[in-house]
Symmetry: C2
Subunit: 303 residues, 2 copies
């Protein structure tokens, strides 16, 4: 099943001509989840050839402009382009008021149902689940209420070993039970253990999104062992004090978080506009956590 | 004196990768006025190398997203980049609430004074004036309250004919009086008529901005004889009914307006995303009003 992330914006607050501010698109089995939506995100979506009517859910981490100023424009364009399908939105409670006021001002009644679920939990909370994935929110430590998200694939079904089941002529109606781990009893009463007939499925993957935040180890239990951790890295370590003052993290801190949480890969982003060349941020993070990669607008990662 | 217009966005509602929605920058004697501010305007400003801290006043015609969704991002970036100078904003009353709510949500207190003047007049009204220019608003006919603007240079002072005044040794202290049209009496009591000592100044220029609107001749008295008329031309005449339904104008209607109002030049813009090739819109308008030009992102016009 597809489980991939596309970076739509890797910059922090101020948009530049080379890097847009935060927006990320997660493809979970061809259902698209948008995570944050800075100004210009709808153009990034076009630029990178995403079919944006397929976006099903939008998650907004917090109400700083570089994470949501593009949302109202995207919602409006979906409306103008004839969307009819439901759209689900998760974000801080005030987001609803901000959108409603702008829709009211333009006398716009959206053509599609928009369901809003406010984030409010001070702990780890399931905010969405379907047959393939569960999404949890957890609080980050920033200057306004901010949430991180973790997207966890559900356990896959066991894989049928066709070469055996076909030879044994196990009835089709039994296969789902095998996938779910049951043993098989043949017409003569002989029992075959599930392990003989199926193979282990791939292990479920997970993606954690942490932007914006101070370095704070309280989140480790939530993101522990995840396959890909996105952690903001607004500054380098020589600007640690600036990072703390602005309640952001450094590349080195992001790497420490990845290491302490035993994640498999680290993706750093939300770079300050002061950095034209990002290689020093990558070097700094890799010195602590070698499995670090740099976010780059348009880049896709199979998780 | 400089009196020029730069197009920052020539498209209607939906942003495309080739044309941004509405935003226009008027340079009046090196003081910059921004007229409408669609999503992505701050990037257009960068792309076309405008020093955006020099923007002094912003005029928002109405609260459809393609005319103001970029405003909050621009205000926020000006703040983050350290602006201290006053900024003056003119727009429909609800605009203030929309901005305030978003600033409150992000706990942002702008570093610079932002003065907001609500548009409300049902007629022709002076909304700003300095020693060089007067700005008037007037109502347009659209699906939400919408205002047009006209920027009128003030009468220039008369031009001193130096070759004469220097020869006559007219004292420096007298020159301003000459510029203002007074006659000159020399020490012997002889009177020289002003016309002998000065030349006519260039006639004051004017720029009228009309977007979005149904074709409505009620605005003719406000824009009559202006040097440059920007009039929206969302559709071509074969889509007149769509234009009417959506309370927009066609290229041909914009040209009729230009002709009936005896303007010197017509600039059409706010094109529907359906038109990749704009030549047919230009041809249609020029068939009625030959002095028509097409808005194009990045283009500048000396008025």
């Amino acid at each position: 099943m597809t489980f991939s992330l596309t970076i739509l914006g890797s910059n922090s607050a101020i948009p530049s001509l080379t890097r847009n501010p935060s927006a990320h698109l997660l493809n979970v089995n061809e259902r698209l989840f948008l995570i944050d939506c800075a100004e210009g995100t709808q153009l990034q979506i076009r630029k990178f050839h995403v079919h944006f009517q397929r976006i099903e859910r939008i998650f907004i981490s917090h109400l700083h402009g570089d994470h949501f100023f593009g949302l109202i424009g995207l919602l409006n364009s979906l409306h103008l382009l004839g969307r009819k399908e439901e759209l689900h939105l998760y974000g801080p409670p005030l987001l609803k008021d901000i959108l409603d006021l702008q829709l009211e001002a333009s006398k716009t009644v959206l053509n599609y149902p928009l369901f809003f679920q406010p984030l409010s939990s001070p702990g780890y909370e399931l905010i969405y689940g379907n047959e393939k994935v569960s999404v949890f929110s957890f609080p980050l430590t920033h200057s306004v209420p901010t949430w991180g998200f973790i997207f966890r694939e559900k356990e896959h079904l066991r894989k049928i070993r066709k070469e055996i089941t076909e030879k044994m002529k196990i009835p089709f109606s039994y296969l789902l039970k095998l996938k779910m781990g049951e043993d098989y009893t043949d017409p003569s009463g002989k029992v075959y253990r599930n392990e003989e007939l199926t193979a282990d499925p791939p292990s479920p993957k997970s993606f954690a999104y942490c932007s914006d935040t101070l370095y704070d180890e309280k989140i480790i239990p939530y993101i522990h062992d995840c396959d890909l951790l996105y952690h903001e890295a607004t500054f380098m370590q020589d600007m640690l004090q600036s990072a703390k003052d602005k309640m952001h993290s450094t590349a080195m801190e992001a790497a420490w978080m990845a290491k302490k949480a035993h994640v498999k890969k680290l993706l750093i982003g939300h770079f300050s506009a002061r950095y034209d060349d990002l290689q020093p941020l990558l070097d700094e993070a890799q010195s602590v956590f070698p499995g670090t990669i740099l976010a780059e607008d348009g880049m896709s990662i199979n998780i």
